[in-house]
Structure formats: structure tokens, C-alpha cells
């Protein structure tokens, strides 16, 4: 690993004012394939402060979930982490042993998985499934665990009578709440939510997200929120990053990204969703297909699909640079900036 350049890059990342809870510094993750390594996450750095919601957005296959899984070190072969640091409360997750990871997972960082609704065991009552976590990690006895489980269910808005229910007796939204309750069982400092509401209808989606927001205010954890639904994310998170082909192309506060997107990919993403208010506009989307991660395009990985500089194939990869306070864009020479910007 080239330590010099990574140190430089990480120092040029946006600073979070309070000591960050999660600090990812130039993370690289690769998948081994017969054609060569696929660079799923390529020099990604970001930080999440205490009590903040950080959104990670991008199209399928851009590396969002890979980042989430590497924070817990639960990526399965053929994935290999090939560089960087993942600091949680100052401790580097990438230096932990199997044993210390067991203690770290769920207690410090827990996760709501992508197919959360299917991660419940159909033949065990949900009460028992929540108890499991508490008995295993907090060494509670059966009775204490049951009391705490009831409490947790109440937090996510389900009556405690439902403890004896089986997953198939509940609706999708309720199952999702149960999974969130299990994720919150140990009071984690960081909750990773990997497309938690993708399978739910918009009404339930909104309900659950509102509830998580309330729980977050009460319990004070931070959230890493992953989705491809940018409009949902803008509403829900403080800061957000847009990923493309394993790299962050734009990072700023959610409001800033929504009102002032600079990177052509971000603009494309935003124009792929209709807005409820404001003028009617044509949805444009982004032409082309995601790039090959084994032999990515040279220079700016987005250039083959870029509407603004389609012919530009620079040798040098664009660097994240701060174009406005707190607003970072993967920027390369010749990239046109909207009027009125530095």
C-alpha cells in the first residue's frame, strides 16, 4: 500500500467537528475473480459524527453494501480488504482479531440487512429471536431477556403480546420493525441500515423512517443509511455521499446535494426521481450501463456516460476537492462548473 499518498488523501477529506464515531480512511475492497481483482471499493473515505445520519447513495453494484459489510468485516470470500482504516471510536476494525470482532459486532455496530424481512427464522417465535441476542451478548437470563425484548418491541411500536408470534403471522412492515428491534438490542453506537425499506410500500416506509428518527433522538446512536432512493435519503440524512463505481463522487450535506448538485452523476441521479412539489420536469435518468470494475475506464470512471465531457479521457483520476465549505466533488481539470461557483 502506498502510505504516503493515502495519508495525503485522507487529510484532505471533510472534517467532522466533533470527534467522529466512524472514520473510514481510504478504504479499498477487492473481489478476486479469474479475470483479476474487481475494485468494488476504491479509496473511499468518510466520517460520521455522533448522532448523525450519513447517507450513502448510488446505483446497484457501486459498492454501497460492500462498504457496510466491511465495517463489520462480514464480507465473504472472494472479497478481500486491501487497504485503509476503519476507525470506530478510534479503534481500527481492520486490526481486530476474530475474538475481539465478536465483541465488537452488534455491541458497537449493528446492522439491518438488505433482505431484513427474510432474516427472521420462520420456525422460531420473534420473542425468542430477540432473546437470543440478549442472552448471547449480555448474559441475561431468560426472564430478564424476555422483559427487555418486550421493551424493545415497544420502542419500535409493536405490542409486547406479539412476542409469541411467528414471522409469518406478521406483515412486512412489522417484521422490519422486529429486525430493527434486534439491531437496537445492545444499544449500538452505530446502526447500519442497508436498504432497510426497499421491500416496503411508501407509507410504511415513511412510518418506519420517522420512527427510527425518533428512536435515534432518544437513544443517541448514529446511522449509516444506504439506499438507491436519493429523495428518501435527502429527507432522512444530515450528510450524504454519492458513490459511483466504488468511489465517492460527491459528498456534502443532504440539503446542499439536493439543491446544488455539481457532479454530473449526482445530477443524473437526482433527475431520475420525480419531485412532488415544484415545477413539472422531464425525468432524464443516466444513459449507459455501470462500468466494468475489473477494467474500469481510465481517468474519470464516469466519462463514458457523462453528458458534459463525454470525450474527455484524462490520464489522471479526479480528486475529491472542496468546492464550497463542506461540499466535496470528485473534480478533474476541464470539468465545467455551474455558474457562480468557484
Amino acid at each position: 500500500m502506498n502510505t504516503n499518498s493515502s495519508a495525503e488523501k485522507s487529510s484532505s477529506q471533510p472534517a467532522v467537528h466533533s470527534a467522529p464515531l466512524l472514520d473510514i480512511r481510504s478504504l479499498y475492497v477487492e473481489y478476486l475473480t479469474p479475470r483479476g481483482p474487481a475494485k468494488a471499493v476504491n479509496n473511499v473515505s468518510f466520517a460520521i459524527g455522533q448522532g448523525q445520519v450519513f447517507g450513502l447513495a448510488g446505483e446497484s453494484g457501486c459498492g454501497k453494501s460492500t462498504i457496510a459489510h466491511s465495517i463489520l468485516r462480514i464480507l465473504r470470500p472472494p472479497a478481500v480488504i486491501t487497504g485503509g482504516q476503519i476507525l470506530v471510536e478510534g479503534q481500527d476494525v481492520l486490526k481486530m482479531s476474530d475474538h475481539s470482532l465478536e465483541d465488537f459486532r452488534w455491541r458497537k455496530v449493528s446492522m439491518v440487512f438488505q433482505s431484513a424481512m427474510n432474516s427472521l427464522n420462520p420456525v422460531i417465535s420473534i420473542g425468542e429471536q430477540i432473546d437470543d441476542v440478549l442472552i448471547r451478548h449480555q448474559k441475561l437470563n431468560q426472564k430478564q431477556a424476555r422483559e427487555r425484548s418486550a421493551e424493545l418491541l415497544k420502542i419500535v411500536g409493536i405490542e409486547s403480546e406479539r412476542l409469541k408470534s411467528y414471522p409469518h403471522q406478521m406483515s412486512g412492515g412489522m417484521r422490519q420493525r422486529v429486525v430493527i428491534a434486534i439491531a437496537l438490542a445492545l444499544n449500538p453506537a452505530l446502526l447500519i441500515m442497508d436498504e432497510p425499506t426497499t421491500a416496503l410500500d411508501v407509507v410504511v416506509q415513511k412510518d418506519i423512517l420517522q420512527q427510527i428518527q425518533e428512536i435515534k433522538e432518544a437513544m443517541g446512536f448514529s446511522i449509516l443509511f444506504i439506499t438507491h432512493d436519493v429523495s428518501l435519503m435527502v429527507e432522512f440524512s444530515n450528510n450524504m455521499a454519492i458513490m459511483y463505481a466504488g468511489e465517492i463522487v460527491e459528498m456534502a450535506s443532504a440539503r446542499e446535494i439536493f439543491s446544488n448538485p455539481i457532479h454530473p452523476y449526482t445530477q443524473g441521479l437526482l433527475s431520475s426521481f420525480p419531485s412532488l412539489m415544484g415545477k413539472k420536469r422531464k425525468l432524464t435518468g443516466i444513459p449507459g450501463t455501470p462500468p466494468d470494475l475489473i477494467n474500469p475506464p481510465k481517468g474519470c470512471k464516469f466519462h463514458p456516460r457523462c453528458t458534459r465531457c463525454a470525450h474527455q479521457e484524462t490520464e489522471e483520476a479526479p480528486q475529491l476537492s472542496e468546492v464550497a465549505p463542506g461540499h466535496w466533488v470528485a473534480f478533474h481539470a476541464g470539468m465545467p462548473l455551474p455558474a457562480g461557483r468557484a
Binding site: N2, E30, L32, T33, R35, I81, T82, D98, L101
Partner: protein, 328 residues
Amino acid sequence: MNENDKKEQPEKSAESKPRFSLKAPLAGALGTLLGSSKARVGFVIVMIFVLAGVFASSIAPGDPKKYVGKPNQPPSAQFILGTNPQGKDVFRQFVWGSRLSLLIGFGSAALMTIIATVVGMMAGFYRGIVDDVLNFIMNLFLVIPGLPLLVLLSAYLKPGTTTIIFALAITGWAFNGRIIRAQTMSLREKDFVAAAVVSGEPALKIIFIHILPNMVNILVGGFIGAVIYGIMSSTGLAFLGLASTADVTWGTNLFWAQNGGALMIGAWWAFMPSGMAVAIVAFGLALINYGMDEITNPRLTAERNVNSVLKKARIPRMRATPVVPHEH
């Protein structure tokens, strides 16, 4: 001191230039199969015997049934594996024996797999009365003790290779049939089958075009198991004298050795080669079966690839996602 230095040195050089490829090895079914060392060993073992059988006439020229010299001679320069109690060349018998033994093994396995696949898939797909009848037949063949039926069949039918293959297939197919039926029943509930039904595809096409390719692993695993069963049982039958003694198989070799009292006189060279061959081929086939697991379960291949990278980078294995510092 000296030992310490030696230990430290390789670590240092690994630190200073982490130059190893992050490329996974060969892909494709054959590449995966031969990428696993177990399967490679098994493949070599089985191929040695197959080639011995195919080129028997050039490896051990001459008639294996011919009287060549004094009976019960121990291995010597003239007779590499000695002579048997009937004065036949053991090496010739052993090499020529692999031809028929393997033919019977693979032939009966192919027949067994075909019967098992057709009956098992029909039963699993159609359910109802078809399933009841076919399942009853399978259960019937399962509870009939195999060896006595084999003995009966081979005693009443005209002795010969085809008879043995037929007898083995009849007694041995039901076990795989049950497995295939169960797998078909679970696959027929999948959405892609429902989609095929809705789009109006004929039942036979659904069974053999849509469902069958999803259980190739089971079929191949079953086939390899059936080859082992075929070789073992045909050898057993021949040893009991129930095969045509005019044929040369590993089983008849054992029969003749036993018949002439090779065991009693301690003429180990007369029965060891054929007996070992059966065991070694069965072992080789079992090793190939391990390799089959990897073809149908890419996770195993992925795990092996990551482990080989860890080994090259001198990083101990762990359950969590490994960290392998590498230049970018």
C-alpha cells in the same frame, strides 16, 4: 540466534514488497474441477485405470487367460506380478481386468442414473397417482435386499457383461431415484417453474429443460456413487462365481485366486492387485466427487482462492473478511 534470524527474514521481505497477484485462478467447470487438488488426484487415479483398460493390449500384450508358467510363482522379472494358482500371468489379468470392470461400473452407473432420473423426476413433478405408483415401485426396490436379487438375476439370466450391467442397474437405481424425486419436489415449487407453467410450456420440457439442469450436481454425485457401487458389486458377484468365468474382470481374478487357494498358500500377489485396484478406483472416484462440490458451490472455490492469496501474503487465516495490504 541463528534460528531467529531465519524466521524473521522471510517476513521482512514480504513486508517490503507485497508483490503477489490478486487474480483468482482458472474458471469454468473443468478448471474448477482440476483446480481442487483432491479432485486432481482422483482424476489422475481414475484416468490411469481407464487408460490401462483402453490400452491393455499394448501394456500387457498376450492373452490374459493363457497358461504361461508354473502356478503360484512370486513376482519376478519374467512375471512382474507373478502367476496365479492356474498358472496365468497376474499382471496381464490385472491390466485386462480393468477394461471390463470399469466398463461394467460406468455402464451400470449410466443405466442406473437414467432410470433414477426419469422415474424420480416424473414422481416428483406429477405427484398424485403417478407419484404413488412410482414411489411404491422405488420403495419396493429399496426394501428388496440387493445382493440376493443380484444373485438370482445373474443365476437365471445368460451370463455375460450385459447381464451384469442390467442386473446391477435394476437393483441399484432406487436409492438415487428417491433423492432425485425429493429434489424435484422442492424445485417444482420455485417461481421459475411456475412461470414456465403459466407461459404454457409442456410438462416434459419443464421437467428436462428447466428443472433438470438445476440438479446436475446431484445427478453427477449420484452417478459417481453408482460407479463405485457398480464396480464393487460386480466384483462381489464375480468373486462368488456368479459372473461369466470366461470374462476377465477384477472380480473373476479374485474368484480364480480364491478358487486355487491363493489365500491359503499365502500367494498374496495373486489377489492383491485386483483387490487394491477396486479400492483405489473407488477412492479416486470419491475424490472427484469432492471436486464436484466446488463446481456447484462457487463459495467453496472463492474461499480456496482467498486462502491461497493469504498464504502467498503470509497472513494467517481468519473467519472475518481478511485484510491483505496491496498496492493500488
